[in-house]
Symmetry: D2
Subunit: 487 residues, 4 copies
């Protein structure tokens, strides 16, 4: 995102997208989608978009920025009247943000209009692009949504469901898709179930969303999670489901629990805040520390930190205050001002930490640069000792399923062992949650997760790709299907 | 465009687009294209865009609004560095303006990147779309540029020139295209030469533009007009030309001379202002009027009006003042205020016209509603007589070649004879320039023009199309290739 | 204003402001003022503002930019409901444009609310400021409106009319003021009548404006010009007039006729376009030239040029085209691009001027830099000879009455005689209109004008001032009353 | 601020302003002030402004909106170069937000330039205005800064310090002022010390700010709080202090501890988060509750809630999630959508509260409307019991010292006793912290606070005022000095 003195979010894994769909005749589906996207905004701040079908045609509106920036006056929503809608938020990378990659994608093909949103990454996206281009297709963006649109258009099938069924065996990766035609809303989840998708019910219809917190903002009731390999079709006849790919087990991305999802969402029936608090308790059991206070790095680690504090019987304090007004237009300090020791985005509270042995809880360490900076701030503010507890195992491997980790070479845990990391970041002690502890704390089946970033055990084979340069912009490695991704 | 009390521009034919291309290594081609588009701004105010190739990749920027609105800070141009560029301005319709239709189009296909701008209309665009969709293509907009991109991608040819040559026999209509690949700039004009395209030379390269006035703004020297059916290819080896379709004569749209082109442009070697002045002189010869003063309807009729005044030996006066500050954000008057007799956009000057017999010169009458309004204003300001002279023949037929006329049913000259029109608009007398007078005044060969809107004699056969509803927006009939166009 | 390749407006004298006031119960006075300001926009493009009284309180809205930019949505006007309004446009200087100097000024003093707009300059403004400060006043801007507000507040009078009458003898300069209280609209013109102000009638009330063209845009009828030294008070009882300073003759600024006013305005009963055309005829009589064509420098010289053409019996041609789309956000060319010979703002038309002896008509020469540039462009475009005719006498002296001329040292005619100027600007011949010819052409009494900028004969004594530095910004010498102005 | 489904901030007391001043030659004082204002943004979101002195003149920039919105590009800061600066943020009321009231105020008076920012309210502001107007002063805004500027200008003193000393005995109220002249920075705190002001040291100078958290963001070190009745003068000679009004004890507004100040600020040497946590502990001691979990209403009650949880030995949970992306441009739901039960701004977490006895901690109850709404949400989410603990006493009286409470008639605790309130808001039990408990928890002297809003015991006498209507806008009762304020 933007950079302040400490790039808090820059040293995190990043979700790529949030998706939302609604079939609810008689409701103002555009406005409901707008509220649904507000709830999913944490999954992507780069661009936002909504498309609506009125039964005859599909209209859309999308743009760069937050939902509130793209839909900054009522007229933009009012233009979008209809009964069915899809919406999308996309995350923010630096420099290569391109409007052309914003979703929903809206195309016309032989059977009429089609609008698509997705979350995730096709590992064979590069190969599919190359094959499609060889067959005479043109690409205007670098999203997987455009790949699947071509596959559907080329399927030769008159029926959208048949076309989707023909496309699914061809694609490989971690994905959820929501498709909208003139009169149907279709949800799709990959055979491993890596990316989440849930179904809810409104007074007059149904909702699909990446996270259940979006149901609350539109007054919908949770029905169930979409199953791996399942396609749900929602139209005037109601909901029907079909298993269009054999389920290959449930490999939900465990980082949804650790960091991505909003604390008030439920995944696989488990509340995220409660899971994180349990991660914190287990973490404290695995790494009991002698200390005076516990503090979390805001905002994502607060649930885990309160679990740690309760387990250790230590007071849970606000060791840091995060400035909530620092946004996109924040003017960066010059080096001269930086040297003054300014604390713009994150401020350690001297009166709280001074002379104290502090347990600092964070959800993960990716490159370690931010951790080092924050620990130093605590020491400057007078902390006597800084013990770091991380509510996940060491991240050693890159993700190829739609999450923006750093390259493997930049992952500190791929280079150093735990004592090495502790030394590198300047911690008096350092404890990571064990993989076993993590899985047990969340309380789902052991093989219910993708934990590839910790274990290197990838549930889906990663392919090569043909493109070395990306479309439109060589720096754009955000949305390319497989481009530049090799193992 | 926008509406003020009198919709001066609303009752005119409208050009659809202006195109610009430059190959000039070592120059700031993005900025030169920006200045070129400024010169072509009168050809389209809806959207503007520029794409630049740096030899490896192509980057683009486009948006809704004037050139100055889309490129409102230097950074947008600075991002676009390279050696080759294409630019486009598109005209403004009401309501259905969609960003997705803004150009340049930028695609990736099997042979790499391709960027396309065009001016004109494919009369078989609808059929081609239908065929391409049947073959599995998807469309994201409603422009002819997307049609030709698909044809090129599907040609199976490795070489762009070969691909273009394969596409040209398939398309039918009035068009100029400028295409840009990684390392080439290609210009193309339809076999009839209906839409204009000229070639200029810069210090280090070449320029293509819809009008020669764009050469002056970039310091280029006019070389020659592109010939009907000609393809010019500009690259590191210089310019080469190939006749890729048999020229079917020269049918340049005569309205370029009458209204569209800027007075300082030259078409077929003839200066537009001088041609318009001659139209005025001939008009006065054909329709000598007893009167006191001559005035033109600003801004487009001033050249013709001064020709009329000189021929009649009458003073040429500013009978009207046009408010040049009324723009897009002008707040429309309420009916209550309208009833006060406000004169916002156009103000007749009482001291000039009071008690006078006025010759009012205009370039064309389309629906006649504006003429009626303006004549009434002159009378209210005290004009004793109002004699109307029109520097073109009566417009009786719609255009299918990229010009926005009204539907035939709305053309006043399709309904009424000249005395009937005079009565309808409230003129004391009314004279149109004869078709012969028009052609002779401009001074080119008789069959050097498309005059279909006057004569109904269409140089290119008009086809039917399959689509009844347009993509993205049912009200959009701006850019659709052939959609809704039938004879 | 902004700068393009040729700074056309930068080498002109500049009006400082346009004022507008309306008392019209039952009308939407805010919207009418908005339209009135549109008509006066040529008198100032830096800032715009409107204040409205609803009989109880006064609300205002003002901002930097054009009327259309400040009032860019309907809600801003709708908030301003009431029966009386004043409006203002202010011109644009470089760098020192400050919102705090935008008008209307809106203050509360012991007798309630007061809103003020003005045009002109108090020559003793600096002294008055100093005296007022010595008496404990604070100033928040550098406008004369603030000076008069203090004088009124300090008058001790309970009645606004009495307070104005007490203030007028104290101030010295060229001015028109429009004041608005809760229930009154008051217009005031200086004893010499240097700056213009006219009265018009609407269906339900009255209008005051700098120029009569503003009456047409609001559907008002011209009544009469306000007399030098006259105060008109408009309220529920109608209009009443009082001579509050002895008229010291009529010294209307002659540049209103030559350049400032809109061609459709009438001043002292004389239409501006007709006067300019007569200036052109007389100019041609005084300086008959052997030539082929006549052209004016757009836009201000077109009336005079057509007069010259008619007198000389030569064709009147568009020797230059001005790009009407170049606005505030225009991105300036780099030197490298400038060197290419780009013609962005003004384009000479080769086919018109090539091989011709051209008479180039302009309304005035101030510093001469633009003239030199334009003449060179004509020669580059092939003109054989360039004869320059100026429809006013040489400008030799700075103005102290509210017009932005250059400093005397920069005025070319203060340095060189006519042959010297001709040589400096590169003209084959050069003729200025004589002062006698100017006065006779306009057709008003010989002593009916201020012609100080030509003659150095200042109708009002210029005082010294105490301030060397200006308020808020040392570069701001736009609105300071007398600061830095010495003789 | 803005309104979402629950107007969380609308039912709070509101701070009016934050002030910042810096004297630091050689630093980029404008940018440091910008960062300082970021830290104080929670004290006011309506407008922001900065003024800088370069030793000769003062320049300023201000506007409506957040600091990031007013200073949205670097150039605005770069224009403001100098050695001394003052900055201001002002809070947002509905409807009456006027740019004219934004600060810093920037005036010129007999001794040169003066810039002023303030926080607080003069209780005799109305009287002073009336007296000043009677003496011939004009007012352009409704702020107390303009009142004190007039008093200084009228003091007759040549020296700014002498002038301030003459003004202070005349004004009565709760205030901090920071004044800047060409070469001095002056801080001033009222004799009761109701509004806070602290002094910090930078490498090359000094800083004044409403809260110490602003020191951290500019790398400054805390020196001490300014004393009641103290004036500090900072210039090239360093800091000197003078007691210019007899200290009338320390009556710091206790709501600074309860709600206004940022948790990482220190007031009177006490950290705000620690104080709030202690308020929570004491609250739980006074009102022990049988329950399952403790939750705070985000964001302001989290410190107190964690104190309650620790004291009660109950888990501290995230019972609510607040959507941090809802901002100014949020589009309000229609009633139809509201009826769906949407939870846009605040979402109770069913899995956390369902079946639980919940202790809900909030910092205060003003009108009670929001509390009622939130409690109902908890019950709808399945909470078995809802026990409400408030970390302050019941608010029974309006504030006249610069805080926006509701009118007394709207304060629920002015109408009902505690059981009545519990019933009205739907709580199973309700406990307020005692006044004694509050004072002891904070740990300062008993008479160290203004607690008038709880006790009705006003440390400064409230006067009447003459004005019934306010300046510029009758609905504006935000900044008027004393207007409409009577006891």
């Amino acid at each position: 995102m933007w950079k302040a003195d400490i790039d808090l979010d820059g040293d995190k894994m990043r979700e790529e997208c949030g998706v939302f769909g609604i079939f609810s005749p008689g409701s103002d589906v555009a406005q409901l989608t707008y509220y649904g996207l507000y709830a999913l905004q944490h999954r992507g701040q780069e661009s936002a978009g909504i498309a609506v079908s009125n039964g005859k045609t599909i209209r859309g509106e999308k743009g760069m920025g937050l939902v509130s920036e793209v839909f900054n006056d009522t007229s933009k929503l009012q233009r979008l009247n209809g009964d069915i809608a899809v919406g999308h938020v996309r995350y923010s990378t630096t420099g290569s943000s391109l409007l052309v990659n914003a979703q929903p994608l809206l195309v016309r093909y032989r059977n009429g209009f089609l609008s698509i949103v997705h979350n995730g990454n096709l590992v064979n996206g590069g190969e599919l692009r190359a094959e499609l281009e060889d067959g005479g297709s043109i690409f205007q963006a670098t999203t997987d949504s455009e790949v699947i649109a071509h596959l559907i258009a080329r399927s030769g099938e008159k029926d959208i469901e048949a076309a989707v069924k023909k496309a699914v065996p061809v694609i490989r990766g971690a994905y959820t898709f929501i498709l909208m035609t003139r009169d149907k809303l279709i949800g799709l989840r990959d055979p491993k179930g890596i990316r989440p998708l849930s179904l809810g019910r409104t007074a007059s219809g149904y909702v699909l969303a990446s996270e259940t917190c979006a149901f609350d903002t539109v007054g919908a009731e949770f029905v169930r999670d979409i199953k791996p390999g399942e396609m749900v079709v929602i139209d005037a006849d109601g909901v029907r489901s079909e298993q269009i790919a054999e389920s290959e087990g449930n490999s939900l991305c465990v980082f949804e629990f650790i960091y991505f999802a909003r604390p008030d969402s439920n995944l696989e029936g488990r509340n995220v805040h409660m899971a994180r608090k349990q991660l914190g308790r287990r973490l404290a059991q695995e790494h009991p520390v002698e200390a005076d206070i516990v503090t979390g790095v805001p905002d994502s680690s607060l649930s885990a930190a309160s679990g740690v504090a309760e387990q250790l019987g230590l007071p849970y304090e606000m060791g840091f205050i995060k400035n909530k007004y620092i946004g996109r237009t924040f003017i960066q300090p010059t080096q001269q001002i930086r040297d003054l020791g300014v604390k713009l985005k994150l401020n350690p509270v001297r009166q709280i930490v001074e002379g104290k042995r502090v347990v600092m809880v964070d959800d993960s360490i990716v490159r370690g640069t931010t951790s080092k900076h924050i620990i130093q701030m605590l020491r400057n503010a007078g902390a006597k000792e800084v013990h770091v507890l991380i509510s996940s195992p060491p991240v050693k491997c890159s993700c190829f399923y739609g999450i923006d980790t750093s390259a493997t070479g930049e992952l500190i845990a791929a280079q150093l062992d735990v004592p090495g990391i502790a030394k590198a970041i300047g911690a008096d002690s350092l404890g990571f949650l064990s993989e076993e502890g993590m899985v047990e704390s969340i309380g789902l089946a052991k093989n219910g997760f993708c934990t590839a970033c910790f274990s290197g055990c990838y549930p889906i084979k990663i392919g090569n790709c043909r493109h070395n340069k990306l479309m439109n912009d060589e720096e754009d490695n955000g949305g390319c299907g497989g481009c530049g991704i090799h193992i």
